[in-house]
Amino acid sequence: MKLAWRLRLRWLVFLLASIAIAQAAEEYSFDASAFEKKPFELNGYVQLKEDNFALNTAGAFYKLNYYHQPQLNDLNVTTGTMQLAGKLRQGIGTFDFRTNSDLQRDQLAHDHDNTVFEAAYSVRPNPGLTMEAGKRAMRWGKGYAWNPIGFVERPKNPDDPELAREGYGMIDADWIYSPGGALQTIAFTPVLLPVANNINSDFGASGYLNPAAKLYLLYRDTDIDFAWQGKGSRPARFGMDFSRNLLSNFEIHGEWARILQFTKPVTDATGQVTNLTVNATSYLAGLRYLTASDTTYIAEYYRNGTGYSAGEADQFYRLVDNAFATGNSTLVQKALSLQSSYGRPNPGQDYVYFRAQQKDALGIVYFQPAIFAIMNWQDRSYQVTPELLYTGINNTELRLRIFMLQGGASTDFGEKANSRRIEFYARYYF
């Protein structure tokens, strides 16, 4: 009996040892053939997001956004998103796309939206030359939160600068040359962006084929770009940027742009609108610093030459106050018509951005808490946002953020439609 048990035990030990050896072998096996290039690739993510807005019922933009709508103190929004990205390859040509589908529901309404962010066909006759046509999201500039030289792209959302954005239909090319020596790289990117009734209609006036170009140089370890956009649907503009590591953990960057004959509507408190045409200069200076304990700091100052001064914005807020206090529908319509100018993200002239993020905080790997703040430097109103991000579950990203807006009457963040926002999302990549 004992012998039988011993034999069984030996077999068990042998079996366990075999499993352990097999696991160890499996643990470190890697066959690259599973990752060979395929003619068609598809990937993306699905995301479920919950937003709770504490509405700022005294704010100018609450009054305008909820004009003739049921009045609420808070709003809960649920958004389901699916983003798909794919590639189809044949010969020297590649077709790639990125689509975004949203399904949104709140107390007042539900909505859905399907947008093609990018869809372009590109050919690459040699490694130094690529030509493409289709919808493409260009990203010009070195700023983290803002890009004054982002001439042919939709503006970045400073609350989520890394979010994919919708592109514009265009024809573009990319020519790269590496001469070697101090000038390590030269790259030239010409762009033609048409605007008609059904194409890129939100870019500007229709009936133009807008030319633009960017010249990139990597010179003595410094990234330098020169960008230009010709007069057409929008006023002509030009600018430059740079980025450089002063130390291996300390990077500085800057952007500068000049917009010629830019027209902005400026109102007074009575609704008298004047169109001011000026040559506007925008610029940005920033840094990124990584400490030995893996804390990253990002700081930027942004001068928005096309923005409104605190005094100009104050006149608009007074107009809204007057319109709603008197119930004058003409004034309300006037204020609503100015919303696209005064109500765009970051409509002021001077902003400061600061972000600090800690990798693997509290000894938890893949846990990254962060805090970022945006301040309108002229009226001293601001938004502070703590953020918790966890990516420790395979292919899953969990993020919680609380946006807290502070500012008195007639200030940028004090007149927003909400005073607080809690956002949580779970995203699954496939």
Binding site: Y45, P127, P161, L218, N245, S248, V365
Partner: protein
């Protein structure tokens, strides 16, 4: 006449003096040549390869990344993430001391530092985008040991991720066995263990497994596995920021 014996005594010491002067230089040249051979034995100067990075946490849970890597010359490396899905399409580029990360959704390459880790791994960017050791380090001393050689390396500039390396080299194969990485303060940052020598074909025979542990990440372990390593001639143009969105088209 009285000066002759004095002059003779000078001449007698001359060969010894010459030896003393040339000895350190000879040792340094020797060490540099060994390091250059180690570099070439590890990888051809220009190559493509697939690598799997496995990060093992103290509780045994694992996270894996797969990278397609291209290298040219002594200091040009680009690595494309093929897995996991959350990182797919990300590309890191290194040109000498400059490093950038390209994220498809963001679209614009951002500068990153050698001490960061794009994968959240014990391997940092300098390990993942490693260029030739001889491009970054000078050989300060070579010590012959029982089973191999111990090279003491010092970073050429302050921009290099590790200030000093102690590299144990297999004398016969001239391949690294263990590398200890030190900060300028003298603190041990991590140890790299090269294992599982494999014939990749085309005359490339090198360790297929690289394990690392760090006293700074107690209980954590990271493993790098090599596959599909082969020589490949590459144009300079692909090692540029503008080319990063198209790196995946270079896979065959």
């Amino acid at each position: 006449m009285s000066s002759r014996p004095h002059s003779h005594s000078w001449l007698r010491w001359l060969p010894l003096l010459a030896l003393l002067v040339t000895l350190p230089a000879a040792a340094a040249i020797d060490g540099t040549q060994i390091l250059q051979k180690v570099d070439r034995n590890l990888e051809p100067e220009s190559y493509e390869a697939y690598r799997k990075l496995i990060d093992i946490q103290p509780d045994g849970s694992r996270k894996e990344s797969v990278l397609y890597t291209l290298k040219k010359g002594r200091d040009k490396v680009v690595a494309l993430f093929l897995a996991p899905p959350s990182d797919k399409g990300r590309v890191t580029l290194r040109l000498g001391d400059n490093m950038w990360l390209y994220i498809p959704e963001v679209g614009r390459p951002i500068r990153i530092t050698s001490l960061q880790s794009v994968t959240g791994s014990v391997f940092n960017n300098a390990d993942i985008l490693r260029i030739d050791y001889s491009a970054e380090y000078n050989v300060e001393a070579v010590e012959e040991q029982k089973d191999g050689l111990l090279l003491s390396l010092k970073a050429k500039t302050g921009d290099v991720a590790y200030d000093r390396l102690k590299m144990w080299v297999d004398k016969k194969q001239l391949l690294p066995v263990t590398i200890e990485c030190y900060a300028a303060s003298g603190m041990l940052l991590k140890t790299l263990h090269f294992k599982d020598i494999k014939d990749f074909g085309g005359g490339i025979k090198r360790p297929a497994t690289l394990e690392t542990d760090s006293p700074l990440f107690k209980g954590y372990k990271s493993v790098m596995l090599w596959s599909g390593l082969k020589k490949r001639n590459l144009p300079d143009e692909i090692f540029t920021l503008n080319y990063l969105p198209r790196i995946q088209e270079l896979r065959k």
